[in-house]
Subunit: 558 residues, 2 copies
């Protein structure tokens, strides 16, 4: 069987000008990066403002398990399937982070015959967007310490600097450091640390900004420290936001690539899905909607976190109205939710599958609460039996009144996603489309918003918030942040806050540990568990196997 | 008077395919980055190996002063001048570093009517080469600490890790840190720090490597730490060099841009000129030599450091044979070498000029020691008087037997450098060309090499090396590094090790503080003074003034 990278290389990509032409983008408005990648110019995007929007389709999933779901693969497959049935389709995906490619994970450009290409470029430096975000973030950090060094007229409390530094690398040694050591000329020693670039608030801002002016305004609002008098210090106070915007200007133009079948794909921005909202840029999604009749996009993690944030943060703030959703599940993952161990997944087990179905069922119900009609996409694995696949289809129909479609795009490309594409068109153009609404109103009190998400989506019995957390919410409301949406950071592996609890638990407690303000991005991060913002490398990192082959091609990346 | 950025924008750049066509590079072999920048493919470069080389012209300068010399401006002007007189010319320059643009300095793409464009892109992210170098460097750092974390089978002594981390930012807070704090899961705390990316040995390796295989081999040889038994640990031992090469693969292709007059310019690589050799990549220079009849390149700092390293490190190791040199001087800078203060430079002062001429005279003599014929380029400033300009011309003719040409390319473009171009062609095609030889043989003992440079180039009376330094040289010779060339790191402002001593001092002492092995780059760094490898920001950094204007264009960058 061919590896992803072998399949990707077996297809000759079309010149990017041809892909742009499919969407009506003229050559002059494409800024090429080589012959198969281009950015779409800010000027061209501005000129499309009055065009009507296409249909927006969200691809989300059950709670992820080590068995894998294939959400990105299904997003790509659905885009190709829509193209196959005659729709003018485009895909909008997150950009992968470079650092983790050298740790354990493979690429993040889909798989099998449902990939975006050129996958090596996309997985590594691509068009340098993340490097630009790293530079902008660290310029602000340098200006902050420089301000303290040269007299600290803003009276920043060096113990209360919230702005860490970032690097697009898995490097545990940088999680916690003491900086400015070495004497007078190096500043005032203080505790500091690095996060991985995708965890930067600049990334979240970049992905939610509608245009360059909005980008600069959001950057200016980011809170980076407190004064000794407990006042907020922002990037704007440090006069950093204009030059940060300059560093981000080119990166802000969405990247255009193609699927193996030549469907246009926008791959742009990639914020963390825990402390941020986990979707590709608003800029890319809106551009795609102006240029295509169907836009397929994905959200991070399972639907409890990813879809909820997509709807309540991204769609609410960007004025997007999704027309349909696809919830991706696999037989293997549902069996794990039904209690099967990973090593036993090869055996047919209808009882466990039916038990695990509860996880899928709840996600389908949840998506319905946002007024978005959904269809289930079953991403077929070779080990799945016909009886298992049929059981999911039957359960979806009988218990949820929902269509479930077995998809084989991984092995067959759009031939294997054509039926899914037809089902999506049916609901997106059917009577249930057009009813999107966020889960909670913006004016709801902050703690009540968290309780609403916990009750409606996680089916928790309670939210545990101590007096300090409750005071923090009150303070934030008093400071004018009461209308912000909530971004919950909790485990992606369960509806609960405990990654070990599979299936569809109810009545559990959601404990709030900490609340962080992302004033530039425009949401409050409510932390309900251990959140790692700087990964480490494993004992044998994949970096040890990534190399140039004798033919000059990259080996070991997938 | 128009600013550099205004001049740059007043010219409509030609499509980069037209610039490539001037050098015979087909469209398919150009990897465009937008419409005015391209990389030249590794495959195309490999296919040119059998073509004859053009003439190589080095632009160097007197010891720099705060008055400025205009070395890059003259390099660009000379390239345009050669084009004007009918030569097929190309330019090879260093890439500017992004970080310092936000500190005090302006761009590094020339000035006036002698610039390479698009200057904003070149000065900021450009094609991402420095980001790739940052990533490769920091991947190695992460793999090193990860190796220690997971059991340290190589027995690395954490107190003897020489491999710091890098960032392309002026950030004094990172010069000296303690890393891996915060508990067991973050590793073993140790002293660490960051340099600016251009100071990375990866940058020096990148700029001296001849092809991708050589790049990988050099990266593998880099010494990053010592074991507890004092053995060397290399990037190859950590299995990092293959994946680092993958990260550098695209960056390694030289960048092609153009001057305001449309002369092709390769802008590629930019190592520090103190702890490294300070020239653009061998890859770019050799590619340019295959494609053009005349290639104009520059070296860092004054000729005592820059030209000496260009000849003894880059040319020796890459098998390049420069045909002529231009030594850039200005009336203002020579007056400073003659004792005039910066605030008095506007007044005519022939006596000081004649005194300061000694600095220029020595550089002309020094370049002659390498068997390279030279001409003096006087970069004219508006405050220069006719008598001052004539005095330099007369002194060069009478005392040095050298031509000195007054150049006005800054204000007039190639019209102002035509005469310089004719003078360069005359010597490059004359009887004195073709005699290039390095200053010292590779097999000379290491300390003797340093003494040779100090005596012949700096005209020092002695080299001061204590017993520890002498032992270090002996140890390095015993370890097989005796044939490496020397890379002196000392002040650029004087022939001596004291930046305050202007003019042409003799008999001074050159004290060696430290010797560092750059085993991958292939030279020994001999440190003779304070060397800053991570700059800081000034009290009012230029970042506070860099912004997007209402028209979407960058303001404040120059």
């Amino acid at each position: 069987m061919k590896s992803d990278i072998e399949i990707a290389r077996s297809v000759t990509p079309k010149p990017i000008v041809e892909i742009g032409a499919k969407l009506g983008i003229p050559y002059e408005s494409l800024h090429p990066y080589g012959h198969h990648i281009a950015k779409v110019s800010n000027e061209f995007i501005a000129a499309q403002a009055e065009r009507p929007d296409g249909k927006l389709i969200l691809v989300t999933a059950i709670n992820p398990t080590p068995a894998g779901e294939g959400k990105t693969t299904t997003t790509v497959g659905l885009g190709d399937g829509l193209t196959r049935i005659g729709k003018k389709a485009a895909i909008a995906l997150r950009e992968p982070s470079l650092g983790p490619c050298f740790g354990v994970k493979g690429g993040a450009a889909g798989g099998g015959w449902a990939q975006v290409i050129p996958m090596e470029a996309i997985n590594l430096h691509f068009t340098g967007d993340f490097h630009a975000i790293t530079s902008a973030h660290n310029l602000l950090a340098a200006m902050l310490d420089n301000h303290i060094y040269w007299g600290n007229t803003l009276d920043i409390d060096p113990r209360r600097v919230a702005w860490r530094r970032v690097m697009d690398m898995n490097d545990r040694a940088l999680r916690s450091i003491v900086s400015s050591l070495g004497g007078v000329s190096n500043g005032f020693p203080r505790e500091d640390g690095f996060d991985i670039t995708v965890a930067s608030e600049v990334m979240a801002v970049f992905c939610l900004a509608t245009d360059l002016a909005d980008l600069e305004a959001r950057l200016a609002r980011m809170v980076v420290a407190e004064t000794r008098g407990k006042g907020s210090v922002t990037a704007g106070d440090l006069k950093a936001s204009p030059s940060m915007t300059v560093l981000l200007k080119d990166a802000f133009q969405p990247n255009l690539v193609q699927t193996l079948e030549g469907t246009p794909a926008f791959v742009h921005g990639g914020p963390f899905a825990n402390i941020a909202h986990g979707c590709n840029s608003v800029r890319a999604t809106r551009t795609a909607l102006k240029l295509a009749d169907y836009v397929v996009t994905e959200a991070g993690f399972g639907a409890d976190l990813g879809a909820e944030k997509f709807f309540d943060i991204k769609c609410r703030k960007a004025g997007l109205a999704p027309d349909a959703a696809v919830i991706v599940a696999t037989v293997r993952a549902l069996k794990m939710h039904g209690g099967v161990k990973k090593e036993d997944l090869g055996k047919e087990n209808l009882a466990a599958l039916e038990a695990g179905f509860a996880n899928l069922a709840r996600h389908v119900e949840n998506v319905g609460k946002f007024g978005v009609p959904a269809v289930v996409g079953i991403n077929k694995f070779v080990s799945d039996t016909d009886a298992e696949l049929q059981l999911i289809v039957d359960l979806c129909r009988d218990k949820l009144g929902a269509k479930a479609i077995v998809c084989t795009h991984w092995g067959e490309g759009s031939k294997g996603s054509e039926e899914l594409a037809r089902a999506v068109v049916e609901i997106a153009e059917g009577p249930k489309a057009g009813g999107f609404k966020p889960l909670y109103p913006s004016e709801m009190p902050l703690l009540t918003k968290v309780e609403t998400i916990a009750k409606e989506i996680y089916r928790a019995g309670s939210v545990v918030a101590d007096s300090k957390i409750k005071k923090r919410f009150k303070d934030l409301e008093a400071a004018g942040y009461g209308d912000l949406p909530i971004c919950v950071a909790k485990t992606q592996s369960s509806f609960s806050a405990d990654p070990e609890i599979k299936g569809a638990p109810t009545g559990h407690a959601i404990p709030i540990r900490e609340v962080r303000l992302s004033a530039g991005a425009g949401f409050l991060v409510v932390i309900c568990g251990d959140i790692m913002t700087m990964p480490g490398l494993p004992k044998i990192p994949s970096a040890e196997h990534i190399r140039l082959g004798a033919d000059g091609q990259i080996e070991g990346l997938s």
